[in-house]
Amino acid sequence: MFWYLVKRLLASAPTLIAVLTVVFVIVRIIPGDPALTVLGDQATPAALAALRTKLGIDKPLHLQYVDFMLSALQGDLGRSLVSGRPVINEVTAVLPHTLDLTISSLLLGSAIGIPLGIWAALRRNRLADYVIRIVSLIGLSFPVFVSGIFLLLVFALQYRIFPVIGTSDLANLGDRAWKLVLPTLTLGLVMVAYITRVTRSAMLQVLSEDYVRTARAKGVPARLVITRHALRNALIPVVTVVGLYLGINIGNSVLTEIVFNRPGLGKVIVTALNQRDYAMLQGLMVIYCFLIVVTNLLTDLTYGLIDPRVKQS
């Protein structure tokens, strides 16, 4: 298992390097002089030159690239041009909020989506299946800022059950959980819809497998055939696809954070873009890549727990 993980980690290295390169290129071609952004129009040419030297952007591009890759691999993400604080500090300050939201919506999505997906698969082409498929398609069609606003309107403004603003005190667990409810529902709706659909098709695939027929031929009761024989196998593709989706879903986290005015990685990204804080942006992209790699590793770990074939290979 350990070597399997190491192998997976090494396998993701080329992609990681490619993505870092793309980040480097994108950030370099953003129009505007970073030094000018920081010091403003009134800065003297000498001051600008001094800052350029300090930032390392007066060097030839290929040297900048080497510098960037080396420091990125060492975990040095530089400092924000606007606040002057290290990127890593800015990120760690908001990371718990983002993780709270991601993990809780994933849990919600699995808790509802997996049973719904199984149910739809077992009732294939009957009424329940059609209803679940249409409803999940509606769930997938909701842009999160629309569903977020609708939830706000109903539960925070009309009935005043939950708070409007999602900014919470991390130390106060009750407050943290309370303010997480609506954002989780918003992001969780998408996850529920997605996981339901993935589970349904995985179950349909597995239910037609020979070993499910074998289990039935053994006289295993229908309920156990589904949970013990079918579901565990169906979860293998579900875990893979959902793991990938977690990365894709960051766009939805950004919008959820904006609607509920929650701190988080998404808002930091948008702020950095608006302020043309290229150092910050570059650091954020590196962290994003890192998070994707971590997510993939966690996915592989979960995968290994379910599928015995993984451990030996």
């Binding site: 020979d210 070993y211 027929r213 289990a215 031929a217 053994k218 006289g219 565990r232 293998i236 379910i306």
Partner: protein, 352 residues
């Protein structure tokens, strides 16, 4: 007036005489584009204790679905048993509900499937998969079920079974997986074993070993075995009687000796010609030209007529009935049936 004692004695005797499996006038239908079509039509056969009946035919002839129907596993909702009885131990499977069927499957009737590579659950250990049947049917606890499962795995000759008990299917070869499948099937000592091409996916030496194992187990347990195959070579080594199926019907049924010595139906003869022969230098695998008609395009008369070398006008006019041409030897053919037996030689034998 019979006394209770004599009554019991006679019942015991009838139980012993009664076939383990008796299929009577069975028709299984599938829905194709909204219409029900028979995949198996008016099928009757029986298998007794300690007897192996081979069900022979090309794929698409309804052999597998016949076996599945004995398990109560005709796929729903696209398939159904339209009429007939399937008596196992004198109990009609067709009329049982799902809960009662679950008590019989894997217990009184067990089945081995063709594909050992995909028929075992990849995420469960082989020990668990064998023990599971014992837990379900015998109500054994985990330890007792494991102990018994290990004994069965040893009985099917899995090398160092104790050490490999907790291994997963992907760690076994095809032949070993098929042994595990057999262990699963016989764990509850079934009265009837259905084997659906259990050796087709295996290479020839392994094939012989598995066949030998199945034959030994049948004798040891006194099981009735319904053995499905398209390979007449396999039939010779394992079967007592043979039923040849074509397009959902039995076209010839006889003892293995009679089938090999005097095959009567032209389809049976065709199957014999299709056996790959080692003693001939050239690879003349002369299969029968044409294909089994699909279930929604069955011809009106004899279903084999389109491919038959003996085809006559009568063959297209009406379907022949299955009729005895010798004791225990019946054939469904206008040309080779009892009406025209006079003057017929012993068909095309196996010799030559």
């Amino acid at each position: 007036m019979t006394t209770p004692a004599t009554q019991r004695a006679s019942t015991d005797q009838s139980v012993l005489d009664r076939p383990v499996l008796a299929i009577d006038d069975l028709t299984i239908e599938f829905r194709v584009r909204g219409q029900w079509h028979a995949a198996v039509r008016d099928l009757s056969l029986s298998v007794g204790r300690n007897e192996t009946l081979a069900l022979v035919g090309e794929s698409g002839c309804g052999k597998s679905i016949t076996a599945l129907s004995v398990m109560g596993l005709v796929p729903k909702p696209q398939g159904r048993v339209a009429k007939g009885r399937i008596d196992v131990d004198g109990q009609d499977i067709v009329r049982l509900d799902e809960a009662r069927l679950e008590k019989i499957r894997g217990n009184r009737v067990a089945m081995i499937f063709q594909e050992p590579m995909t028929s075992l659950n990849p995420v469960l250990t082989i020990g668990f998969q064998v023990a599971e049947a014992l837990r379900v049917h015998r109500g054994l606890d985990a330890a007792a079920a494991d102990a018994e499962a290990l004994r069965v795995l040893e009985e099917v000759k899995i090398p160092s079974a104790a050490r490999r008990f907790h291994d997963h299917p992907h760690q076994f070869s095809g032949g070993m997986r098929q042994r595990v499948m057999i262990a699963m099937a016989i764990a509850c000592k079934p009265a009837l074993l259905l084997a659906d091409e259990p050796t087709t996916a295996l290479d020839v030496t392994i094939q012989a070993q598995v066949l030998g194992l199945l034959d030994d187990l049948k004798t040891a347990y006194g099981m009735a075995m319904l053995f499905i195959t398209h390979n007449l070579g396999v039939v010779a080594t394992i079967a007592d009687r043979v039923a040849v199926m074509y397009a959902g019907e039995v076209v010839e049924i006889a003892s293995v000796h009679a089938i090999f010595a005097r095959p009567a139906h032209p389809y049976t003869e065709g199957l014999f010609r299709a056996i790959p022969r080692i003693d001939r230098s050239e690879q003349t695998l002369s299969a029968i030209a044409g294909q089994v008609p699909s279930i929604d395009r069955m011809p009106g008369g004899c279903r084999f007529a389109a491919r038959c070398p003996l085809r006559e006008p009568a063959c297209d006019a009406s379907s022949p009935r299955l009729e005895e041409i010798a004791p225990g030897h019946a054939v469904r053919c206008h040309v080779r049936g009892p009406a025209r037996r006079v003057g017929m030689g012993a068909g095309g034998g196996v010799g030559g």
